[in-house]
Symmetry: C2
Subunit: 494 residues, 2 copies
């Protein structure tokens, strides 16, 4: 596989949308609207056998009628026209084809055979295929968006998403948007008649814009090649995988037939480990985890120090962290003394968790930020978590000035801690029980780009996976025959 | 322990707040303001050694000066005045005392001894104590609120909270508020010098207003009595416990000393099992889980049927459910055929998960609700989950009519499924990736009282615990000597 083969899928100079239309709710309109919404530098060619123009862009009867060269064709046509159209694309010299059309191997008897025919046909012309049964592709680094993702929800970050399933990823993106999370590149491989997630993963390894890759995978076709590719990419940037189909029911749901895959999740996990692939515990964590690995400094040890506004949060957060293999150790007597000397009253614990809530100092902005700096300076923390600022309350016309004042102090303290991460190059995570719809402070700070985690278990899951990734990176972990073969066997059904 | 002893804490006819003041941010002002915010039928007596009135209510120099009888005294005074004040309360004939004051066993050397002295003193007069080191108590069924909980966030539900720690519970209540979740009764036992969570748990068992009890516990003082009480209460209503201090760090955080507790969490879990206490996996799930157990029909089997708008959500949700011991079985051929005959196209899966997203029918309101009714009628579902409606988008002045129209259809479908739960007496859970700040539909429906779960793992955790609770209820599970002793030993340090 040559990376050049894949370039047309992410950096096309010209795109034909075959089946382009203005009909609301249709894929032909989604893709054209997606392309138009960005200042795409290449040419856009709607192909429609009747219309003169589609959304104002001159249209062509067939791909053959297009005057210039066509790098990429996106097919939004009924499945029974796919073969005929592929042939026309081949004759035209198209390099890559995205087949949105569904109704092949995933749905009907004999569909897999038909897919093989599509691939054979495409390869005759030197064309590569993405799909069938996909929802598109985008590369915001090239202002290229041939997907149905809601435009308003796309945020360009150095995280790339390479996914076998797609629709739910749009949901994750929409959800992430409100937290300023997103992906710069989105690839949906669907039935993978030709190109697979492995092919695109390899390409992501070579793109300097990409700092981390998140993947939603139901099954890999070639276990050994996937693991070797992932291991290589993971040496340069984190690869995070949510592997669906862990259980029999889910496996059946994924594949619409029972068997092989179900028992093999342990094999996958073992193989992921050897390749230093980060296994994502829930689908919802895919984006936050990828984002954390891409943008936070490495976590170099297990020692986490907690500053909390509520004793019970401190206890529960300690539970969550230690259950994930991290540690919440006592601070040294020397550091404890220094924190006391700075002004922590005798009633407040300085042992870790450090209990700010009990300190009565929750408005002493300068002192509170100095506590954090002292801890980070001490070398006793591999990571710091500030939990419990950003209390509820949304601004309204009648919001009393005192509440606004408290909110500003809350925000200043959180901003100060977020800034410490860069200064000390030690991960500093901010937690609050409240989401952006509950707390004005959380809402405002999220818009400023500060990440605020709502759940203790997610905070722990993110930190523990950061630790494991960085602990293993650069270390020699030969891929065992067994793991490679296991993953291979378990995916042979694909 | 006579339940009569506890009545003054939840149904007082008169309350003295000793240390009442208008000073902002002080406990004396929180408690008085809390009491005033409800139409409390009893008498409120501020005690302040200087002021004539506190927030407009006539104040007294000391509790002895109060003309009528005093059922409950709430102490918001410096810790060094507690003994003297207790004595005055005893002389006055006060029945119950809530000691908000901190600075005893949790903070200083010799504090535990001093607490024993307080109890001895109180018992001389036949008084009972809650605390010290607590944040109050409320019973919304009696319009009685002597707590610092933000008034605006209190929602009266048949769930009672009996907690050793308190501050974080206020956070849970504030967070729950935006989801129409709350507790009708809140009890904070703190250092438990006298009354414990077990004492109040027994009382909750007898209150008809209470349908479920949620508990935050760091350590129980008398393991055997706790388990026997819990088992008895759990025969009538669910008891949900978040047991903090599972790990060494958390245990240290909870108790400010290492040891015994850490290794004993497994003993707790085993003992909880025997008592049919529902063990809560995260602190954040305490309220949603209690609410589900209080208000949903029993889950009578493991078979869960999923209707989803996105194939990948169906796969991931199947994973989450089966990982929790539930099942996502294929529907019978007969039922599959009936769903097809109703109008599900060949491309949409009717196997379970039923894939509505692929059906192209997502606007066919009547058909979609009929699908659910057919499944519930079939007897093949012990629970039904509808996932993926309530897409993002918030109403604004410029919201186009088509978007509002889609939102209305989304809302109607969700409403219809929520209503099926009552009709069929089978749990029907609604899931959406979006929260109330992201989706107008989710926001509106949440305000109508419909629960919409955002996370797949939480949905699975709730259903699996509902199943286990109802499976065991009514079955004879003798409490083993071992479990009782184990819990006893592990908590002996208290």
């Amino acid at each position: 596989m040559n990376d050049q083969d894949l370039k047309p899928f992410l950096y096309p100079r010209s795109v034909a949308v075959i089946g382009a239309t203005e009909r609301p709710g249709s894929w032909g309109s989604f893709i054209i609207e997606g392309l138009r919404a960005f200042p795409f530098a290449g040419s856009i060619y709607p192909v429609n056998h009747q219309a003169e123009r589609v959304f104002g862009i001159p249209a062509f009867r067939s791909v053959s009628d297009i005057p210039g060269p066509v790098d990429l064709a996106v097919l939004t046509i009924p499945e029974n026209q796919v073969e005929k159209t592929l042939k026309e694309c081949g004759e035209k010299g198209v390099q890559g084809v995205v087949i949105i059309s569904a109704g092949f191997g995933e749905a009907v008897e004999g569909g897999k055979e038909r897919e093989k025919g599509l691939v054979a046909l495409a390869h005759t012309y030197g064309m590569r295929l993405m799909g069938p049964n996909v929802s598109g592709v985008f590369n915001l680094f090239a202002d290229f968006n041939a997907s149905a993702a809601p435009i308003g929800h796309l945020i360009k970050t150095p995280v790339a998403a390479v996914c076998q399933g797609g629709y739910a990823i749009y949901d994750l993106l929409a959800h992430g948007y409100y937290r300023k999370m997103g992906v710069g590149i989105f690839i949906h491989t669907g039935n993978e008649a030709d190109l697979t997630t492995t092919d695109f993963l390899a390409m992501m390894g070579d793109l300097p814009e990409v700092q981390a890759v998140v993947m939603y995978i139901e099954a890999v076709k070639d276990g050994r090649r996937f693991l070797e590719t992932a291991r290589k990419v993971a040496e340069a940037k984190p690869v995070v995988v949510y592997k669906a189909g862990k259980t029999p029911g889910a496996s059946r749901a994924a594949a619409s037939h029972t068997g092989a895959l179900a028992g093999s999740f342990k094999v996958y996990e073992g193989a992921f480990d050897q390749a230093n692939v980060v296994s994502c515990p829930t689908m919802e964590l895919l984006l936050p985890l990828g984002q954390a690995l891409a943008e936070r400094p490495p976590l170099k040890g297990r020692r986490v120090v907690i500053l909390t506004m509520g004793g019970s949060w401190g206890v529960a957060l300690s539970d969550a962290l230690e259950s994930e293999g991290l540690r919440v150790p006592n601070l040294s007597p020397g550091l404890q003394k220094r924190l006391r000397d700075m002004g922590m009253p005798v009633r407040a614990s300085v042992k870790n968790p450090v209990d700010i809530g009990a300190s009565g100092l929750f408005l002493a902005e300068d002192l509170l930020t100095e506590l954090g700096r002292e801890i980070l300076r001490s070398g006793e923390a591999d990571a710091l978590i500030l939990h419990g600022f950003g209390r509820p309350g949304m601004d309204a016309e009648g919001t009393p000035p005192t509440l606004r004042f408290y909110q500003e102090i809350n925000k200043n303290i959180i901003r100060a801690y977020a800034a410490m991460e860069k200064e000390f190059q030690i991960p500093v995570l901010i937690g609050s029980a409240y989401g952006p719809s509950e707390s004005q402070a959380v809402f405002d700070l999220t818009r400023e780009g500060i990440r605020i985690y709502q759940r203790l278990d997610e905070t722990a899951q993110i930190l523990s996976r950061m630790f494991r990734y960085w602990e293993r990176r650069g270390k020699d972990r030969p891929l065992s025959e067994q793991a490679a073969l296991g993953a291979e066997r378990s995916s042979a059904r694909g």
